[in-house]
Subunit: 292 residues, 2 copies
């Protein structure tokens, strides 16, 4: 049964979308436009896709240009801001600081000392103090949330379902530590847990271990499980999947991938379903264990 | 305060030492000889070090030659068996099966379906059913257990101590899942959790992430923490460290490495201390959180 998505609230002011990399920002922009709301994109230099950005009203900004972003968004009469897309966690020296950001710097440096959750929710508070309302992408474009059920033709076997349950339990146990949102489980054996390396690197590791004979399960045994962190602020950093994740799962020789329905976002569901069918893996949204 | 080690029981029958790779088997054999007991080595082909093996009475065996091992150990009047040294988890097709092992095969295949703990304790039961007593290396050679305190000249800072506590908490949370015994924590941020890849591969990953700028902490921030799994049968698979671990920690740019005192084994303490001092890292044994 698919989740009933909340209806995004209709307002007259355009939505500011700060865009990292990947196709998610544009899926969100398109959904917002379909809902009858205007959108202004603020692509981040080095992350936003220039060709795609051209299709929307936009202003390029650099990391660290918080003042510039505030001025431009105010001039566009934006009040709501969404921050979406891949953003390799930048080193401090890569950030170009404007005056506004410079004043906030001591605070940001303190935030950097915590985990990702603390950094992101801290940045959320800073936006709010400057008169913006920071929303989750799923609040303005609920259709990007993965629904329950299989996306392509394949569904998890009984063994896969047991592996999914184990993976969810591992991720729940990791919750207090503000780390990875993904694990790989094969026939009850936890093969990999994600921390700072990210899901794609973790999948490459599983592919390597298999090639080296360190994983003895045949191709088609094992599941990638992704879930939002326990207690995480879902306005930021909801786990996302896309064609790249599907390709990684296929290369790692797994049976499929399971994500928490209503707690995972996806830009291109049809592309994902087609890629999954072609690679003979399943992609499934499972009920949220935190809400049961 | 160093742990008081249990005195190994003196017996007349020689100890059978099944030897995997690395220097640990020989450290154990030397300690047993110092305690006045004879030892017969059963080095595993492809794992045991041939040059070192020559110094002791020995019989080469292949993986899967359980029958041969039983016959030879009985002829040598061994009753106690210790299994020690690195053993990359072999794929089933690498194992050369003798008749005895062939009869046990269905049972071993079932054991392979669980995690490492289940495999190892199951193999322990098989030994016992054949009239042997399987002991932990630390029971016959207590001096190979790491004691509390710093091994070289450096000691963990206050921040390092907080990272050690976080690492131990992560490993405790992972306990129910029968996976890795190691994690890397830097300034409260969990950078890596070990599963099927092993400690050395996890340290290489941290070194890579640092080189790619994905880890923003300066060199000298972060700790490798190793601990026995919660509830693990300590006769098998106690975590071990050696010069290779120290080299990995230095390459990963960490401040040092902490292991659970009395729950971690080490072959060459002087070599480890010298390597740690040269690389400007600490190596410390910390109290066992499971026994507090």
């Amino acid at each position: 049964m698919p989740d009933s998505h909340p209806e995004p609230s209709a307002t007259d002011d355009p939505l500011a979308i700060i865009c990292g990399g990947g196709s998610l920002p544009f899926a969100v922009a398109d959904a917002v436009l379909r809902h009858g709301r205007r959108a202004v994109l603020f692509p981040l230099r080095g992350f936003g896709d220039p060709a795609a950005v051209e299709r929307y009203p936009h202003h390029w900004i650099a990391l660290g240009q918080f003042g510039r972003m505030c001025r431009l968004a105010s001039a566009e009469r934006c009040r709501d801001v969404v921050f979406i897309g891949n953003l390799t966690r930048p080193s401090l020296h890569e950030i170009r600081l404007d005056w506004q950001t410079l004043r906030l710097l001591p605070r940001i440096v303190r935030l950097y000392r915590g985990g990702d959750d603390r950094l992101l929710s801290g940045i959320g508070r800073i936006f709010e103090e400057h008169g913006f309302r920071l929303l989750g992408a799923h609040e303005v474009a609920p259709e990007i949330l993965v629904a329950e059920g299989a996306m392509g033709k394949r569904a998890p076997s009984e063994r896969d379902q047991a592996d999914i349950a184990t993976g969810l339990a591992v991720l729940a146990a990791m919750g207090p530590f503000d780390i990875g949102q993904a694990a790989v489980v094969a026939a009850g054996h936890v093969l990999a847990v994600e921390a700072a390396e990210g899901t794609d690197a973790m999948l490459s590791r599983v592919a390597d271990l298999r090639r080296l004979g360190r994983i003895r399960y045949p191709v088609g045994v094992g599941v990638l499980v992704k879930a939002p962190k326990v207690g995480q602020d879902r306005r930021f950093d909801l786990p996302s999947i896309g064609p790249q994740t599907v390709a990684g799962v296929i290369r790692a020789g797994l049976a499929g991938l399971a994500v928490v329905a209503g707690g995972t976002i996806m830009a291109e569901p049809e592309v994902v379903a087609t890629a999954a069918d072609r690679g003979k893996i399943f992609v499934v949204g499972v009920p949220d264990p935190q809400r049961q």
